[in-house]
């Protein structure tokens, strides 16, 4: 009897959870469904699904508004900022995890505190510096800003991962006469790769969705998808199917990455305070 009760309970919870899940997910689902409608259908809801599936909106977005350039900028900014941040962060995190000094903890906390600074506190000087150096609306400029923006999170995340690598293994390899270079290459690197990969994933997500600096500092040449989507806020004619198609393309890669990175999201965004 107890068994049947738990089964009933499980079925009830399954139904409830799916209904709630679908409600939460609905805006995304609706966007995807709308992207396959004609503009006429999009604005005239007669049912959940399109009367005739069409990829018209996608081709219009592709051809009319240099979507590819925006998408390419998003990719370049996300990958570029992540790459440079990792280059700077990996040695730092490695050093703080394996050769901690007296000040390591303070240093980590200080790095974190830079993340607490509201962007508007730096907006005006950065804007003026960029204007004077001709960096406004350039990929290099935005990559630098995004790199600095996420560097504290990256260092923290790498630090918490590196901390989990047992130090005894390093000592053992040192005893065996491995040089520092060999130690790094053969012992540390293979163990650090999962942590680095997770950090990379999280940072790509954060950089891809960043919508303060990218909106304030780009207009056209270096503008990523955040800016491209924002351009739909001044609509012309029927545009919902096009907006949906553009939105779907802008969020799809991140939804896929996020699916892989669920656990890392928690670790990265809480600075290791919740694991």
């Amino acid at each position: 009897m107890a068994r049947r009760e738990t089964m009933q309970r499980k079925i009830f919870i399954t139904a409830l959870a799916w209904v709630v899940g679908l409600i939460v997910f609905f805006p995304i689902l609706w966007t995807v469904l709308t992207s396959f409608k004609t503009e006429g259908d999009a604005i005239n809801i007669s049912g959940f699904f399109s009367t005739g599936w069409t990829t018209e909106a996608y081709s219009v977005v592709q051809s009319r508004s240099n979507y590819v350039q925006f998408a390419w900028n998003s990719v370049a900014l996300a990958l570029g900022s992540t790459f440079f941040a990792l280059v700077i962060a990996i040695p730092s995190a490695w050093a703080m995890a394996f050769a901690p000094g007296k000040r390591t903890k303070d240093l980590l906390m200080w790095m974190l505190s830079t993340k607490m600074m509201p962007p508007v506190g730096a907006l005006i000087p950065i804007y003026l510096i960029f204007r004077d150096l001709g960096l406004l609306d350039t990929r290099g400029g935005i990559i630098t800003v995004l790199m600095l923006l996420n560097l504290p999170i990256i260092i923290w995340m790498l630090y918490t991962y590196f901390k989990e690598i047992p130090g005894e293994i390093l000592e053992a390899s040192r005893m065996d006469g491995a040089s520092l270079g060999k130690e790094l290459l053969y012992v540390l690197t293979p163990m650090a790769i999962p942590g680095i990969a997770s950090t990379l994933l999280l940072n790509i997500i954060l950089a891809w969705n960043e919508a303060f600096w990218t909106l304030a500092l780009t207009t056209k040449d270096a503008a990523p998808l955040t800016q491209f989507i924002a351009s739909y806020s001044s609509p012309e004619g029927l545009f919902w199917a096009k907006l949906s198609a553009a939105s779907t393309m802008a969020i799809a890669p991140i939804l896929v990455l996020g699916w892989f990175a669920q656990k890392q999201l928690v670790r990265g965004l809480t600075f290791g305070a919740v694991k």
């Binding site: 959870a17 040695p91 906390m109 993340k115 506190g121 907006l123 804007y127 304030a216 969020i251």
Partner: protein, 302 residues
């Protein structure tokens, strides 16, 4: 000896990130503070300030030193009170919704049921959506009073559709921002729930503890810490909400402190005033940051 070598190498390895972060934090902040004491407008970079305020001091670039005038004007601007109020209201509402909603959703997701992994992904997804996308999708396809999905639902059950952005623009912004942050709270609280001691769970079950007291005496105390983390981290991010207001054009009714600074600086070109506003925002964020840092610092020792 090896450790000495490692130490030196370690310092060398840490220095680039310390250097760039120091530059990133100190240089703009110092400039913002300096600008906040200047009469500095981009449209009129060198006003003849001796005419405006006889005997005024000039800086090296002939800009008027303004003392606390910018702060005075910013802090007495009615728009500041409105923006400050909106900032705090937005943070308060979204926090309340996301902690309550996040707890409920996390408890639900912690139960065993069919397709749990898939439902979890659906619930986390909104957090991964680009803010500009979320804002425009909500504004148009969901909340449009004529052809939006909510209007469609209202009409089909015989109700008058709500014109969200005309009559309840602030609530509309709260809803779309909360939609993105409830999943964040859910994800963190769920992670924490799953680390709840299995033995404790079983013991409670054996004793036949009623679900409500189980939640009150065992689950809730366990969740207090992650809840605090959620509140602090969300506060940091929510104080900086910008894109949702920028793309939906709700600056009038829902404009917050970051948006006001943006308006002062990049639209009105009043660098001095915008900088003073920026400093006000920095002070506000620092009060929150102080508590967050203490929490994280404690955890670092543990």
């Amino acid at each position: 000896m090896a450790t000495q070598q490692t130490r030196t190498l370690g310092k060398l390895a840490v220095s680039p990130s310390v250097f760039v972060l120091f530059m990133w934090m100190i240089v703009p902040l110092a400039m913002t503070i300096y600008f906040s004491f200047l009469r500095y407008n981009l449209l009129d970079p060198n006003p003849v300030c001796s005419l405006l305020t006889p005997g005024a001091l000039l800086d090296a670039e002939n800009r008027c030193l303004a003392g606390f005038t910018n702060y005075y004007y910013f802090l007495t601007d009615p728009a500041f009170f409105k923006a400050m109020g909106n900032s705090l209201k937005l943070v308060g509402w979204v926090l309340a919704i996301s902690v309550a909603g996040g707890t409920l959703l996390a408890l639900l997701l912690d139960q065993p049921f069919f397709g749990r992994g898939f439902v979890r992904i659906m619930m986390i997804a909104p957090f991964l959506v680009m803010p500009t996308v979320s804002a425009l999708v909500w504004q148009n396809m969901l909340m449009d009073p004529v052809s939006g999905f909510f209007a469609f639902i209202s009409k089909s059950i015989g109700l008058q559709p709500i014109d969200w952005f005309t009559h309840h623009p602030f609530a509309a912004v709260v809803i779309m921002v909360a939609w993105q942050w409830v999943p964040f709270a859910t994800l963190i609280l769920l992670t924490s729930l799953q680390s709840l001691d299995e033995e404790q769970k079983e013991a409670a079950e054996m004793d036949g503890t009623p679900p409500l007291s189980y939640f009150w005496y065992i689950v809730l105390p366990h969740l207090i810490r992650p809840m605090t983390v959620v509140v602090l981290i969300e506060t940091i991010f929510l104080l900086n909400v910008f894109a949702e207001i920028y793309v939906t054009g709700t600056a009038g009714p829902a404009g917050n402190l970051p948006f006001l600074v943006y308006q002062y600086g990049l639209i009105a070109n009043d660098i001095g005033g915008a900088s003073a506003g920026g400093i006000v925002a920095v002070i506000l964020a620092n009060i929150v940051a102080f508590f967050l840092m203490r929490m994280i610092g404690k955890n670092l020792e543990a």
